[in-house]
């Protein structure tokens, strides 16, 4: 067999010839048994080489592919984009919202520009507010010109009972504007339940400032207010309003005994029961 014919058979087996040459070579191979055997040998060789290619790892880079990649994308490392990268945004928003709410209740009086403010300057005797850093006239004019209304609730006087829902509970910070009661210059008199802020400002430490903490809702009976005892809301009561425990007094033992009408069989006396709370107990007198 001629060497050229053998090379043509090898190219046919590997598919490297055109269609006309392939038909011609196939006809020649069918007529020559030796050529047919040689063609089959080259076909088996091709199949064996193909099976060798299957054993090469898929991620193995050839020099050409590596070169092409370097020239195209450079040597910089490219990480795949995170699948859930958008999750940090709502999480961060939640943290910010929580921090805002948590810090809001702890803003000191000096910085509480948006919080409720206790002002009762109708008598013109509002003292300077330590901690705020401004004096009464400045406060008065500021409120008259630009009253702080962020948390001031307009209510009827009779609804001031909601100022302090329960002893021992946290006080509300809402204030109350009493539209019926206005000073001569037309500015509204603010009566507030924000005892917390007043306390922080040191305004309710003494009896002399008790007028600034007037919780009386009866504005129409001005005379009655004026006749109100000066110590009707003493420090002890103010502390109780703020939720702080009132100082223990000999006349206010927290322990109460309920004495029933029936006789206890074990002791022969009326049955007694100690109670800690008397909220629902009706007493006569």
């Amino acid at each position: 067999m001629r060497k050229k014919f053998e090379e043509e058979l090898a190219m046919l087996a590997f598919g490297d010839v055109d269609a006309e040459s392939a038909r011609r070579l196939e006809l020649q191979t069918q007529a020559d048994p030796e050529a047919s055997e040689t063609f089959q040998t080259y076909c088996r060789m091709k199949d064996e080489l193909r099976s060798l290619c299957d054993d090469v790892p898929a991620d193995q880079l050839s020099k050409e592919r590596l070169r092409e990649a370097i020239l195209t994308r450079g040597l910089r490392e490219h990480k795949p984009a995170p699948r859930f990268g958008w999750l940090w945004m709502p999480a961060a928003a939640a943290v910010l919202a929580f921090s805002f709410v948590a810090l809001k209740g702890r803003i000191p009086i000096g910085a509480a520009t948006t919080g409720p403010v206790v002002l009762d300057y109708s008598d013109g005797k509002m003292p300077a507010m330590p901690g705020v850093g401004v004096t009464r006239p400045e406060i008065g004019s500021a409120v008259a010109a630009n009253p702080i209304r962020t948390k001031v609730v307009v209510e009827k006087p009779s609804t001031t009972v909601a100022m302090n829902t329960d002893r021992g509970q946290r006080n509300r910070r809402e204030g109350y504007v009493l539209p019926e009661d206005r000073t001569s210059d037309g500015s509204a008199r603010l009566m507030s339940a924000s005892v917390d802020l007043m306390a922080d400002a040191g305004l309710n430490r003494g009896e002399s400032h008790s007028s600034a903490l007037s919780f009386d809702s009866d504005i129409s009976t001005k005379k009655a207010i004026e006749e109100k005892p000066q110590h009707a809301f003493s420090n002890r009561d103010q502390m109780a309003m703020r939720g702080a425990p009132a100082p223990e007094t000999p006349a206010s033992s927290p322990k109460i005994v309920l004495i029933q009408s029936e006789t206890d069989a074990n002791t022969g006396t009326l049955r007694a029961t100690e109670v800690e709370s008397t909220a629902n107990v009706v007493v006569g007198g």
Binding site: R167, S217, A232, A251, D264, G268, G284
Partner: protein
């Protein structure tokens, strides 16, 4: 009759007086001539203390059986008694002895309020050691009046200790056992002085007794305060033998956020005459702040009949000042 006297003498004589200290014995001997035992058939039911040389005795309602009880002195002699009056809030009863001719001194009333004071409870089985614990307030049903009371610890939980008179170490009357805390089943176990189980309790309960020290079992009882006791005795010694506790005739409950909310007004009472109405909230009484109904009751307990109260109330959002004369 003879058997009754003998049982009394035996009861008193067999009482473990030897358990008492010398000081306690002196106190008991000092007050003994002024004390009679109230009988219920053949057994002692309670004791009564002489408060007037005319034969007026004070005792507690639980110590009396019927309107004509029989009493006996410590020597066994019999006394016929008549029920005169009773003070409902305190359950004290005034008895009058028929043909009383004794040189016994009337008992003195203690006015001290020292804590940890040693006391003796004159139980039907003899004097029992007790101790003043502390002053508290009690709401007495069904009158719902709040009374200043004294908590008393005593080493006795016999079923018949109700109404036992209390004396201090000076032989002065302190009060009577008006009420007692209910004992738990384990506390109801009774033991003798050898710490053997003698009665009470249930077998299912562990025989371990809580709060036990000394020869007896610790019990908590209550007696009215000295001020109220004096008021009761003054009332009993008055011509009409009626005790007058200060009241204006209202019932209160807690108001929101503070104050005493009038729940009801008794018809014809001083409060109704003064114009107080249901729904009014009392905020101040005589310049004292009223934070809740307990403040109201405490302030009322400190008043005297005939006093005039300046009461600030809130009605429909308006504050009003009302003057009320304290009645009874």
């Amino acid at each position: 009759m003879l058997w009754s006297a003998a049982s009394l003498i035996l009861t008193v004589a067999c009482a473990d007086l030897t358990d008492l200290t010398e000081r306690e014995l002196r106190a008991w001997k000092k007050v003994e001539p002024s004390v009679i035992y109230l009988m219920d058939g053949q057994r002692v039911r309670g004791s009564a203390a002489l408060i007037s040389r005319e034969g007026l005795f004070i005792t507690h309602a639980t110590s009396v059986t019927g309107k004509a009880p029989t009493g006996r002195k410590s020597d066994g002699s019999s006394i016929k008694l008549q029920w005169v009056s009773m003070d409902d809030p305190t359950q004290f009863v005034l008895l009058k002895a028929e043909d009383w001719s004794s040189g016994a001194e009337v008992v003195s009333i203690s006015t001290t309020k020292s804590e940890r004071e040693g006391l003796l409870a004159l139980t039907p089985t003899g004097p029992a050691r007790a101790e003043r614990a502390k002053d508290i307030y009690g709401i007495v049903n069904p009158s719902k009046r709040m009374m200043p009371m004294t908590e008393v610890f005593l080493e006795n939980n016999l079923p018949t200790m109700g109404g036992s008179l209390l004396i201090n170490m000076d032989g002065k009357l302190v009060g009577a056992l008006n009420a007692a805390l209910g004992l738990s089943p384990s506390q109801n176990v009774q033991r003798n002085r050898s710490n053997e189980l003698v009665g009470g309790g249930t077998k299912a309960v562990s025989p371990i007794v809580n709060n036990q020290y000394g020869p007896g079992i610790l019990g908590s009882a209550y007696t009215i305060g000295p001020k109220v006791l004096n008021r009761v005795i003054e009332g009993f010694l008055s011509p009409d033998h009626v005790v007058k506790h200060p009241a204006i005739g209202i019932f209160c409950r807690d108001a929101t956020p503070q104050g005493a909310l009038i729940d009801s007004v008794t018809k014809g009472s001083p409060a109704e005459k003064a114009g107080l109405m249901k729904g009014d909230v009392i905020t101040t009484i005589n310049n004292d702040a009223v934070r809740d109904q307990m403040d109201f009751a405490r302030l009322m307990a400190d008043q005297d009949v005939g006093d005039t109260l300046k009461i600030w109330i809130t009605r429909n959002g308006l504050r009003q000042l009302v003057s009320v004369v304290v009645g009874s």
